[in-house]
């Protein structure tokens, strides 16, 4: 009896130690971070895995903030080597990383445009940031003070806009696309009002609260993180407008059309040239301490920044990446290959 119990105990202990032995080693790169950068990061990972003798890196889509949290947790095989971000690293995150003994190299990949699009069956839209703000903000300045958004139809804002109910499908607050949209489009629109401009000078926090709050009365529908779903809904409802990344517009050009913002069409050329108003930069961050420990990191960075990947005719542009200008690509590449540490 005692013998049998002992055997069971030993078996249990063995399982545990075997489980711990699994954790010792890692031979492939681990990447976490933004869901916006995910399609590009995975494309490079696959190409890298096929063309080199290294294993294919594993890429997780955790969101920019979630990725930073995992990335800055420390040095060691249990922590990721690279994190993707659809925004620059924040000072607080940088501090946390430095405290964890991590040296970061920042690599800028390219741009992503955020488009407002509607179905091809309705006429193309032309909006300004001011109109976007008026259509979507929770409170708008009217007659000298902030009032709950009174606009029900686009034509209420400007008679030149269509006489249709305001109905916008967009990402939820957890999404990086939403962050960027709020920062670039909504804030940009808010600044066109003198009262809000004054508020921005006096109290930055109050201005942000006013500019970033999106209305909750049904005119803005949080459609989830799935951009394909938004495209399908736009097809079904010609009056609705969707907010999503440029690559989805690029893939579905037969069904939907992008609205011109301030007279600039959301095209590949306009975003690359920086003319289109709602575009952001994408980055990835490399943990220098892991280079040489986990095989292939330097080679992966070289592949990502190579001309055949993120150049003007690289395979990432087929996936919807908007490349950096040639000169900037060159500086980014040299910084990345040297693994120059980021300072802030």
């Amino acid at each position: 009896m005692i013998k049998k119990t002992l055997v069971a105990a030993v078996a249990a202990a063995l399982t545990l130690s075997a489980a711990q032995a699994f954790a010792q080693n890692r031979s492939q790169i681990r990447i976490v971070g933004s869901s916006t950068v995910f399609p590009f990061s995975t494309a490079v990972a696959e190409q890298f895995g096929r063309a080199t003798k290294f294993k294919t890196p594993v890429v997780e889509s955790t969101g920019s903030g979630g990725g930073m949290k995992l990335f800055c947790a420390g040095v060691g095989v249990e922590h990721p080597d690279i994190t993707n971000a659809s925004r620059r690293i924040k000072a607080s995150e940088f501090e946390k990383c430095t405290k964890g003994g991590i040296t970061i190299t920042e690599v800028k990949i390219g741009f992503d445009g955020i488009v407002l699009a509607n179905s091809k069956s309705s006429p193309p839209l032309e909006l300004t940031k001011k109109q976007i703000y008026q259509a979507l903000a929770k409170e708008v300045p009217l007659g000298g003070k902030m009032v709950p958004n009174p606009y029900k139809k686009w034509s209420d804002i400007d008679p030149s806009l269509p006489n249709a109910r305001i109905e916008v499908l967009g990402p939820p607050p957890t999404s990086g696309t939403r962050d960027a949209f709020v920062e670039l489009a909504m804030e940009g629109g808010a600044r066109t009002f003198d009262s809000l401009k004054a508020l921005r000078k006096a109290d930055k926090k109050a201005f942000k609260a006013a500019a970033h709050a999106i209305r909750e009365d049904g005119a803005y529908v949080e459609a989830g993180e799935n951009d394909n779903l938004i495209v399908q809904k736009l097809e079904a409802n010609p009056n609705a407008i969707g907010i999503f990344g440029f690559s989805f517009l690029d893939q579905n050009a037969d069904k939907i059309q992008g609205a011109a913002i301030g007279g600039v069409e959301p095209s590949f050329e306009n975003i690359a040239a920086g003319d289109y108003g709602i575009s952001r930069s994408m980055y990835f961050y490399v943990k220098k301490e892991h280079v040489g420990v986990i095989p292939g990191i330097a080679e992966f960075v070289a592949e990502f920044t190579s001309e055949k990947a993120s150049g003007e005719e690289g395979y990432l542009t087929d996936k919807g990446l908007i490349p950096l200008p040639a000169a900037e690509r060159k500086t980014v590449r040299s910084g990345a290959t040297k693994l120059a540490p980021l300072t802030m």
Binding site: F22, S35, E225, N228, S247, Q251
Partner: protein
């Protein structure tokens, strides 16, 4: 009383007949409601299944293009060493490009050449590489090879891209259509069964993406789940049902198990992240950890089902066994457990089927990831079928919509197979009194 009945017999009979009629009508109505409910359920199910099949059937075929490939020794192995490393490093894509340029000598501009080679999948080079690695004698020969087309060409050939649309609305432009038509006229374009969908892992190119990595990941994960939740669940149920005294503590445990069965699955993911990854230091994205988390999730279901199965074994069986001198342990192992087994197995398989469809707890332990290599062990990074569906449905490339439908069909096939297994096991072991 009797007087009343006698004086007015007709009225009474009239009332009861009417009442009877009403009762029959009520019953007929009730039946009709029930039938309607079933019909509605079947209609919704049919709609769901047909939309999935309509969306996904095209992913099981793939357009291929025949190319006259010259396996040029100058390109593959200029020194003639036949060293596997040299063969692996060669630029096979160049062979594909040359074959295409030869077919269309009129294409000279750099941009057009790039679009011409874009007709063929970027994985075509790897197809040639595998051929040469398997059979080095190919070097120097010229052979017709069928390679996969790109996803846009595939959609066009299958008729999902309308050639009458204005060119700026199509992902396939006029010159590309002309090239495809020219190839098709030579009989060099064919749509065939896409076998590699079942034999490869994930890819960012829809035409190369396969489901095998996710299937293997799901199997590995479920093996761990089964190994943990079945013995633990059955032992817990046997103890609680057959041995444990009835007191406040066992009541408390029972209530807690019932509550755990209703806990949202993501909570188990949080637990897994805190205990298995952060405390025990197990690897992220591994089927081992995924299986452990899912075992925690299915454990209450298994215990509840097993307890119900034990409780349904008639007490007379236990009393008879004890009466002829069997010990409590013998009663359980010789009589109660075999009789309760069909119920226990059914409960376990239903729990496993639920685990097969879970993504939420796996999100936190890193199994929602892009994994190309097919996992070979319990500690390799892996993903599972529902996660694969989630990743594909979120991809911008249009051709992934069909892949998503196909992956859902594979997942449904797995679920049906597991449920069929439950039915067979129950039929096999079931005993009636």
């Amino acid at each position: 009383m009797t007087d009343v009945i006698a004086s007015d017999p007709l009225r009474k009979a009239d009332i009861s007949a009417k009442r009877l009629k009403r009762r029959y009508a009520a019953e007929a109505r009730f039946r009709a409601y029930g039938l309607l409910a079933i019909l509605a359920a079947i209609a919704v199910l049919g709609l769901l299944l047909s939309s999935v099949v309509m969306q996904g059937y095209s992913a099981f075929t793939q357009t291929e293009i025949a190319l006259e490939i010259h396996f040029d020794p100058e390109v593959i192995d200029p020194e003639g060493s036949r060293d596997p490393d040299t063969l692996a490093q060669a630029d096979y894509r160049l062979l594909v490009k040359r074959a295409l340029y030869e077919l269309f000598p009129g294409v000279t501009k750099r941009r057009d050449k790039r679009r011409l080679t874009g007709l063929v999948s970027s994985g075509a080079g790897f197809t040639l590489q595998n051929m040469v690695m398997d059979e080095p004698e190919l070097i120097g020969r010229t052979q017709e090879v069928w390679v996969k087309s790109s996803d846009d060409v595939d959609s066009f050939v299958k008729g999902f891209i309308d050639r009458d649309l204005p060119p700026e609305d199509r992902r396939i432009k006029d010159d590309e259509i002309a090239w495809i038509d020219a190839l098709a006229a030579r009989g060099d374009v064919a749509t065939r069964f896409n076998g590699s969908f079942f034999t490869t892992g994930d890819s960012r190119e829809p035409e190369q993406a396969g489901i095998l990595g996710a299937v293997v990941g799901s199997v590995l994960t479920l093996v761990i789940t089964l190994l943990l939740s079945f013995p633990l669940g059955v032992l817990a149920a046997v103890y609680l049902e057959e041995f444990a005294p009835k007191n406040r503590w066992t009541d408390l445990i029972e209530v807690n198990i019932n509550n755990l069965a209703a806990v949202p699955s993501i909570i188990f993911g949080l637990l897994g992240l805190a205990v298995f990854l952060n405390f025990m230091g197990l690897p992220r994205s591994a089927p081992l950890v995924g299986g452990m988390v899912l075992a925690l999730m299915t454990l209450p279901t298994v215990i509840i089902a097993a307890r119900a199965a034990f409780a349904s074994v008639p007490p007379s069986i236990r009393e008879a066994a004890l009466g002829i001198g069997a010990s409590k342990l013998q009663t359980v192992t010789h009589h109660v457990l075999p009789l309760a087994l069909p119920g226990v197995l059914t409960g376990t398989i239903i729990g496993m089927a639920r685990a097969l469809g879970e993504t939420a707890p796996l999100l936190l332990i890193g199994m929602v990831a892009f994994v190309v290599d097919i996992p070979g062990s319990f500690s390799d990074p892996a993903t599972v079928l529902p996660v694969q569906i989630y990743i594909w449905v979120d991809s911008p490339e249009r051709a992934f919509v069909a892949k998503t439908g196909a992956a859902i069909m594979v997942l449904l096939a797995f679920l049906i197979a597991m449920n069929a297994l439950a039915v067979v096991l129950r039929k096999r072991f079931e005993r009636r009194w």
